[in-house]
Subunit: 482 residues, 4 copies
């Protein structure tokens, strides 16, 4: 089973990537390539649904896109000029397969397929109501709620039924929807999760990130806007804005970790923003040292920014194995107690006797940080200064990011000084929330933040009907030295 | 099937990694971890053989170590305090499985298992002779020749029979051999392929690279010396030197590409040597430019060396996908003509309008270089200067490295100037053979080179009984500008 | 894939067998054995759902019961004292798995699982209505209609909702239903498909045939009566008769072919009835011959009856291979033209020069009969007289039996005389419909037949809302000689 | 895994079936069909090797012929006009696969493939000698000894080398051997195991039984004679008799149980011989009863013979399930204590109150007989008289039949009277050894028996070098009543 490496369990995980295309021969081939480029957004299952003008065809599989959607026998069964696809995290087995998207239903008005990135924060409540009225759910996820709301809507066409359904949900959703009326792409009024629009010849494309356009040679047109529904079919492209206008709150963590560095998110180069974060961090939390060492691969751009701003040389003090796409279960008691280094290994020849600035993107549970600092010390580092390219993660996300419950977030439990002790670093610093906005070229509006930064601040942009956060974020000073 | 990405077909490939351990409970667990750390030396099959004091047990599988040798059901069947293992390249299917090492035979004197890194250059000739005498071969590889030579040797014990056998072979071999008399590690008289020795508590370990010691927390003792046989058993460790002494010729390409940067090869940090190569290259082939961009991941250390020596900023102008362990077969005609970028994508926001020095480790067929230069130009780069961290690869390897036949090596077909044209670079330069030796801290002895550098020079250290090189290396100038 | 042998494609196929048990530890184990004994009623998929007092657990698989439901890992996940199961025909793949029963739904009032033998003749119409109201179907079969009718019923408890649902359907259904209120078994008002009730210690059991009671050592209590619902739970066993009383019409073909000869169907030994049919046939269609030869295995009892009534010796003139559970696809053009005899082979030493009475249970398309007569002739038989233990099959079944469309039924296309010519028999005779009833100890009431004999007469006991038979049965004489 | 049903563990099992063909397009297709017809001789693995004029190709698989050798992808890789095949018993897993025949070796003189029915009684001794000389064995079976003897023979061509090898072995062997010199079929000097020769157009065929000729429409020519080697190639068919002539001793048990009833063995119809045995048994051990009931399917012909000779009606008192090709592991403690009847079920309606003669082919351990008698009694039988169509099995076979060690043979432990008690029968009788020969139309020559009947008499026709029988057969009276 392909899963994430144990070390990666100490990261927040985006739960999905989506892709849709209208108007290209063998549309499914483009979806497969696009999903492959979005694989970092969901590695445990993938699916594609096509419409060939008469029939809908779906294939869903546990595992990566490669190995499933590059097989001739699979792709031959997915004909047609329009298609949508999805990559996701999920658990294994038969039960899980019915949760793999795109979800598809044969409604009275025809087939209806949907792929969803995000999470509805009132799904449980809606589900109970629908269940009582006789709706039978196939999956255990929140996305199916949208389909049942569409199925039981009394509006006329699919677009109106979908709008009717979306007005009843709260939370985060970027969707691509396929019906015989066309391909619909839409984004919740706050625009929490991303969705971009591109063009390749006559074909119109929607994807979670611009890298999925790059991979097929498509050009980027614009973002689907918060609260916008775009309908594409053979009569053209139409835009709808059925929701009341609110100030958008796109997820700030896309820049910190989720998006690929070669993506353009909300109009900005993710790579450049991450370098800016590193440079801000160098200014906010300078330190005398010999080398700036990134935690590969996600810490590299911020480390480069820190190095360039501080003039401390950038060096690879930690080498990452290429072969940890698969989890390696440590096979016996004899080896389990060893500090086994399956994913990362210290470049001891370099590190020995040196003062190291270690740059990582975030601290979630802190388990990885403890090991990395120890690895540097075992390799002979004289000092280890940890610098984190995001503010302390103090709150869970309810908008489609897999976060541990709050009690397990290190920054929800202790101060930065205590964290520095805990991970055994000579110093530890996080970028401030203001510094993070500065790296994006903005000044944070504390009354009305321009982004969803709830994981750092507890300021959730929607009500949380199904779940209730009990406490606010602890007040924390952001830099600790010892 | 896990295989290498198409782009990697344009790399030379190490054909094997080996690992052996004597004297640890659950020895197979350590072998599994060690092989995992050597996975880059052979990704298509793996095997472990153990000896539990009475019986030998083997498990061999197509695919990676993870997913095969971290399964409880597999590892439970591999008990004992001594074990050897192997990772290799090979083709798929039932036929292939019988070629997966360790090879094992029930000889009259007991079980005999062997794992081999290298290639015998007179295997076909020996095989024909053995065959005529009634020996029946199970596998199609060269390693089985050693077993039949041992089986038919009239010497007394296993060590003497093995020595007798090795005196008949020519070529490259680092071996770990398991019999009920003990664990034997040995290296051919020229020491072409590497083999290091380590210690973990009471256990003695042999591995192709030091990273396999690091991963289990073992300490590095020394290299097994060229022409040395080391026998380990419960009575201790003994060293034998049964071959006539010759000047060693370890493979220089281990430093350029095969070994992991965090390994110590022939006593030198691979990372440091690669940075030195970059620095030498900056001196030998300077250029005015805005950014030094590595071809990830193997080009990174040389690019850092180039950047530091030239003071041109190091930037990630190419982003590598993490999800290309699996080959992705481009699924249809519609997408095949696109310049699909499954493994590498340009960081366009960075590259646009800039002069780029692109640093890669080697050029084999040149197919990747063509695509990478074009990718930089498509992303808007103003100039693209290619710098290669090895001399032109003009000759095939017959010592355990998978090289294309000579006619397919770009540098065997054309001058550096013609290559620059071919890959459409504004300039192209390779490090000189002398520069490469300088990066290793040596001056090349042209009469008696200290390394096997046959792939760059055609100077083969052994006769090539089975194969005959027809031509010498073309004379080439190493830097071309246009 | 386990499927039926090609020759069996020339048989009518029962589409399902069901089994339910209340009140035994490890209930699923009994269901597995019961389904194994019912395997002849459906060989392509099987499923079991259990209720452990709190949760429902299901396992469904393509293939036989053995190989799926005798695996420890599967059975351990099916705990509890109450369980239902199902064997069925279906096609392969993911699409099919969602059609494998028991079907299960999480309704507002709790879990609801159902296993169904039979077919609803107004399912399509009901499905369209439910679909328009917003019900989303998961499967493509008729059984799910019952679940949605239950889910949307406004009655109080599950039993009332189920009754409400069943009053809306027409056709054939024997059901076992599992909810947290108990185990319900029921049979449609006409009792078209069988369902028996048994006892093993404290446990109550329902099954399609008595052999499923035999296999677990349970005793037969009585048939579930047409139109009866039996509810079993910890408070006891209660019987309900919510439907208007009508004269029952149990399927007569259960005696001819579907049921195992060791079953007791509608109170009569299937073996004895089949022998009676053979004896009747000997009287209705006598012939001078040397041997009575059964088409194995289903023709054996009727052949024994024919032999005993006619005093012509019973001999095995055709030997059946035991290894045709799996279809053997004839592998190449070279062998396809041969009259390959994978399932049946002539006992040539016996047959040569002899006059043979060949006894089979039915003729559907006639393809098998052609081959069998030819096989006897090739083996040297002097005369071949075919005797069929059922009347000509002239009409399709819409009550849960897989029949070809009417145009493909040989008896719907030609007279018995023409059929004799077609299969190249010296004579051909079918038992008369009156003779068939006599073998059952009854006289057929032509105004109000005591059985459903629609496949022989076209006299369907329900309206056929979804499908309409266009023509009546052709008038045929039942014996032809030439 | 397809294995035999537990009840079948109480049968002697033929260990192999072989098939070879020369001179037909797509030869492998004919082999596949032939092996399918021989499936009863070995159900756990199968293999085919072809020679296409230049190369040898093999496919071997665990499991049945159907499901493996009817797959297009498999058969396409087996081209050519000449082929051999094998079905066998063996254990599961990777280890086993290397034992699956045909065995193939690349000898100095070219490819050499062999399929073997029988067992060598001096294989262990030969293996030790070869091992000491340097031969390395791949498999654990006896057949590979022949290959190594061929490989190390100093004779000229393959036929001479094979003859040289066979002169060194003792025991039973029917072989088909494929080399580039032609197809060789041969049978040991005693002709212990069968081998027949047939013709289909231009093609020559060899097979273990005539049913394998029937299935492909080939005609039977003659038996390969004991001690004969037949070489077929494009220059014609030649016969060789290199061994000293001895009186043949073909296995008598082929008639009793192994061969299919529709086969002709040693010139006699197996069906007819079995009927004769039944008739002899009726004369030797008559009894007053209501029904003669066969233990299906192997007891049917003898029961018919008994019925016809005694005029007691033949009836199916035991029904055999068709779905026990797969073992069904009884899934839990709760059901294990039940007398579960997965393979056989009593036809209770018939048996109740009746006196039954139960006819079976043999008693090995007696476990099945105990259950069958009890099954008849539970079903209400008034008396149960067991009649066995072979003499008491008192000795193990060392010629290719899987027999339990002697201590586990019921007849080696107790008298017939004690056996009758043990199985709880009202009477028990075995046919006498003289009666068995009479059924074959012969009078047993007690000094020089015409058949190998060692399993009944302990009179082994060869020395048993590897194993030594310690005791003779106990003297037993053959009929017991109580």
């Amino acid at each position: 089973m392909l899963t994430t490496n144990p070390f990666d369990d100490d990261k927040l995980r985006e739960e999905c990537g989506i892709f849709g295309i209208w108007g290209a021969e063998n549309a499914a081939s483009f979806v497969a390539l696009g999903l492959h480029a979005l694989q970092h957004r969901g590695q445990e299952a993938a699916g594609i649904t096509v419409f060939d003008g008469k029939h809908f065809h779906s294939h869903r599989a546990m595992g990566h896109v490669a190995g499933n959607f590059d097989r001739d026998d699979v792709m031959r069964k997915l004909p047609g000029r329009t298609a949508i696809g999805h990559v996701r995290y999920s658990t294994t087995g038969e039960t899980a397969l019915r949760n793999v998207q795109p979800l598809f239903a044969d409604l009275a008005q025809g087939g209806f397929a949907v792929a969803h990135n995000g999470n509805l924060s009132n799904a449980m409540k809606l589900r109970r109501t629908l269940n009582r009225r006789g709706s039978i759910f196939q999956s255990t996820g929140d996305t199916e709620v949208i389909i049942h709301l569409v199925a039981t809507s009394d509006r006329g066409n699919n677009l109106d039924k979908l709008t009717d359904a979306l007005k009843q949900v709260e939370g985060a959703y970027s969707l691509v929807v396929l019906t015989d009326e066309g391909l619909v792409a839409c984004r919740d009024p706050l625009g929490i999760r991303p969705l971009v629009m591109g063009k390749l010849g006559e074909a119109t494309i929607f994807a979670s990130e611009t890298v999925a356009l790059d991979v097929i040679g498509a050009s980027y047109l614009r973002d689907v806007e918060p609260g916008e529904l775009v309908l594409v079919n053979d009569t053209g492209i139409r835009s709808y804005r059925p929701f009341e206008k609110v100030a958008p709150r796109p997820c700030i963590f896309e820049h910190v970790y989720f998006s690929r560095p070669d993506s353009i998110a909300e109009g900005q180069s993710v790579y450049e923003v991450r370098k800016n974060i590193g440079a801000e961090l160098a200014r906010e939390a300078p330190v005398e040292a010999d080398y700036v060492v990134p935690v590969p691969d996600s810490g590299v751009p911020a480390a480069l920014g820190y190095s360039q701003a501080s003039a401390i040389p950038f060096e690879l003090g930690i080498i990452r194995s290429h072969y940890v796409g698969r989890t390696f279960i440590q096979p016996s008691q004899e080896v389990r107690h060893l500090g086994v280094k399956l994913k990362h290994n210290a470049n001891s020849a370099l590190v020995r006797g040196k003062r190291i600035v270690l740059v990582d993107d975030s601290i979630v549970r802190g388990t990885t940080s403890v090991k990395l600092v120890q690895m540097m010390r075992d390799a002979g580092a004289r000092e280890v200064h940890m610098r984190i390219a995001s503010p302390p993660t103090t709150h869970s996300c309810f908008y489609g990011v897999d976060t541990p419950e709050r009690a397990k977030l290190l920054a929800a439990q202790m101060s930065v000084a205590a964290m520095a002790d805990y991970i055994n670093a000579d110093s530890l610093a996080f970028i401030s929330i203001e510094g993070l906005y500065r790296a994006l070229g903005e000044e944070r509006d504390n009354n009305q933040p321009q982004r969803c930064d709830a994981c750092f601040t507890g300021n959730y942009p929607t009500s949380l009907t199904d779940l209730t956060e009990k406490e606010g974020a602890p007040s924390l000073s952001l830099v600790a030295s010892r």
